[in-house]
């Protein structure tokens, strides 16, 4: 199996440990991740989608044409990128008028959207194509962690088009997380947004922080050791945003944040170094200490 690997911005340009973990994981799964040379920003749905739909769809379509030329379906690990690429691909496959309009723009850049590939999310591929059993076989280091699973918004929604899982009561991520031995803990308003999307983080950070604080309050009340998400933008919001919440509200939240790829990395026995966990603003050490402690305990038994 071959996949066109769409990087995006925040993962590769801020949290490279997510990319590293993914490359190692897919190597072990014997799935080839092919680089999409010259791919750009998806583009950022909050700004480009809000400012000009045509520009948004044109830049997204250009990225899609790179994978079309490679003859491979796209995989992305970011909900925002997934939103831009999936929605554009879906729209241009179903709306000829729009397709023609976008192709007129792309022609200026020497490209053409054909509609020959699909856009998939990382978690969707792990669940549907790899499967929980095969993923479980890779777990060398079972994680005894209580985890708050955060789905984010654009992974499952709009569900009418995306059709991966139920948008209100999904289980796909919880099941994936639990293959590592971690436990997904229910918490209030689990499906709520992190607050960063729609251009809000850059425009009205106090509103964004207020969303994030509500999520952190609810996660804390459930007593979790870590947050796991599948979107580098949510990742950034729970990492950097958590410190912003602490400053704005005088709180002392310190819940470590892992992208699903990093969590799987830990379960495969990769080190914090390789996962660049040391670059997170929120110290991952308490969660790592718990993993080691539990592992020692079970080894001693």
């Amino acid at each position: 199996m071959e996949i066109a690997y769409f990087l995006g911005c925040i993962m590769n340009n801020r949290y490279p440990g997510i990319e590293k973990a993914t490359r190692i994981l897919f190597d072990k799964l014997d799935i080839e991740l092919k680089d999409m040379e010259g791919a750009s920003c998806c583009p950022a749905p909050g700004v480009f989608g809000s400012f000009d739909k045509k520009t948004w769809a044109s830049i997204a379509a250009r990225n899609i044409t790179i994978a079309e030329d490679m003859g491979s379906d796209i995989m992305t690990e970011c909900n925002g990128c997934f939103g831009s690429l999936f929605e554009t691909n879906h729209m241009l496959k179903h709306d000829d008028e729009m397709k023609n309009e976008i192709n007129e723009v792309l022609a200026e850049a020497g490209r053409e959207f054909k509609g020959t590939i699909d856009v998939n999310h990382f978690a969707q591929i792990l669940y549907n194509d790899v499967g929980l059993d095969k993923l479980g076989e890779l777990v060398a280091n079972p994680l005894n962690l209580n985890v708050a699973v955060h789905y984010g918004c654009h992974f499952l929604r709009p569900s009418a088009e995306i059709q991966i899982d139920n948008a209100e009561k999904p289980t796909i991520l919880d099941e994936l997380v639990e293959t590592t031995g971690a436990k997904s803990i229910p918490y209030k308003d689990k499906m709520m947004c992190c607050g960063a999307g729609g251009g809000l983080r850059s425009r009205d950070i106090d509103v964004t922080a207020s969303f994030t604080k509500e999520k952190l309050d609810n996660m804390t009340a459930a007593g979790v050791d870590a947050i796991v998400e599948v979107c580098p933008f949510c990742h950034l919001q729970f990492d950097v945003g958590q410190t912003e919440v602490n400053k704005m509200y005088g709180t002392d939240f310190s819940i470590p944040v892992f992208h699903l790829a990093q969590l799987l990395g830990l379960a495969m026995g990769l080190g914090a170094d390789e996962l660049t966990l040391d670059s997170h603003l929120i110290d991952a050490a308490p969660a790592l200490a718990k993993i080691v402690e539990e592992a020692d305990k079970s080894a001693g038994e």
Binding site: A167, G197, G198
Partner: protein
């Protein structure tokens, strides 16, 4: 306990106990009043001020009502229960009447009066022509606003927005800062009983606001990063170092490694008019 004391209690520690005591039917109210009063974001736009005032008075009302319920549950004797409820009700009526008097927008001058001159049929047509004709079948049930996480903390009222777009109240919609308070989380759209593409409506309304010059500098900056570097969040030295450390190429195999690919992105932004929209000067390579 006087109304004042009870209200004061809301802002001190006893709030949580009250919330936990309430019965199941009150759960819907809970979300609304969970937030501390100081969470309201600052609003630069004068249009939203009236709405904000009205909003805070209504949340006080629900809070007062909640206490009433909590008290009913707390009291042991049935008779005192009834007396107390009556008392609270009386005080509440008095209270809200005074507040309403200050906030009744209809008593203000003509500035808030809506006339046919405010209606722009072309504005409504934009949504219908963009394939979001489902806007027409909205029956204003409010399910969207009810589930909206932004509406819980900002003046953003998605039901109102949908109605204004259908009515053609272009100026109202595009000048309102609240239009930008939506995180596009799709909760409204997922729950809409008429399956109206609400997020598409929000984005289209923003497109028109942008065409009319309503764009935040921070957003223009993100747009300009994409034109300059191909990434909304470009690489930095610290991440290049990290990438090298874990054995990845210092630069990702994106536009960062392929200058000719960046030219394609730039060409697109030029052809679609995006440069002009955000005021990006190709010659200087900066925003104007």
């Amino acid at each position: 306990m006087s109304v004042f004391k009870r209200l004061k209690a809301l802002f001190t520690g006893s709030q949580n106990e009250v919330v936990e005591d309430i019965s199941d039917e009150q759960v819907l109210d809970q979300n609304k009043s969970d937030k501390p009063a100081d969470l309201k974001p600052k609003q630069a736009n004068s249009n939203t001020k009236v709405e904000k005032k009205a909003d805070s008075s209504s949340s006080e009302k629900t809070e007062a009502k909640k206490i009433e319920v909590a008290e009913v549950e707390e009291s042991s004797s049935k008779e005192t229960k009834e007396e107390k409820v009556k008392d609270t009700k009386k005080e509440n009526v008095k209270n809200t009447k005074e507040e309403k008097g200050d906030n009744m927008t209809l008593l203000n001058t003509d500035e808030n009066k809506l006339t046919l001159a405010d209606v722009d049929p072309d504005f409504t047509a934009v949504f219908k022509n963009a394939g979001i004709d489902s806007v027409e079948i909205c029956f204003q049930c409010g399910t969207c606003s009810g589930g909206c996480p932004s509406g819980r903390r900002t003046p953003y009222r998605v039901r109102q927005l949908v109605r204004k777009c259908l009515m053609g109240l272009k100026n109202d919609v595009i000048t309102d800062d609240a239009l930008w308070m939506c995180t596009t989380c799709y909760t409204c759209q997922e729950r809409c009983p008429r399956e109206i593409k609400i997020v598409e409506i929000v984005k289209m309304a923003r497109n028109i606001a942008a065409q009319n010059g309503f764009m935040a500098d921070a957003h223009k900056a993100t747009g300009s990063f994409v034109i300059k570097t191909g990434h909304g969040v470009p690489i930095n030295d610290a991440t290049m170092e990290l990438r090298k450390r874990v054995g990845l190429d210092e630069l990702p195999p994106t536009v960062h490694s392929f200058p000719e690919a960046l030219e394609e992105v730039r060409k697109i932004c030029e052809v679609t008019g995006f440069n002009d929209l955000i005021g990006f000067n190709k010659e200087t390579g900066e925003l104007e």
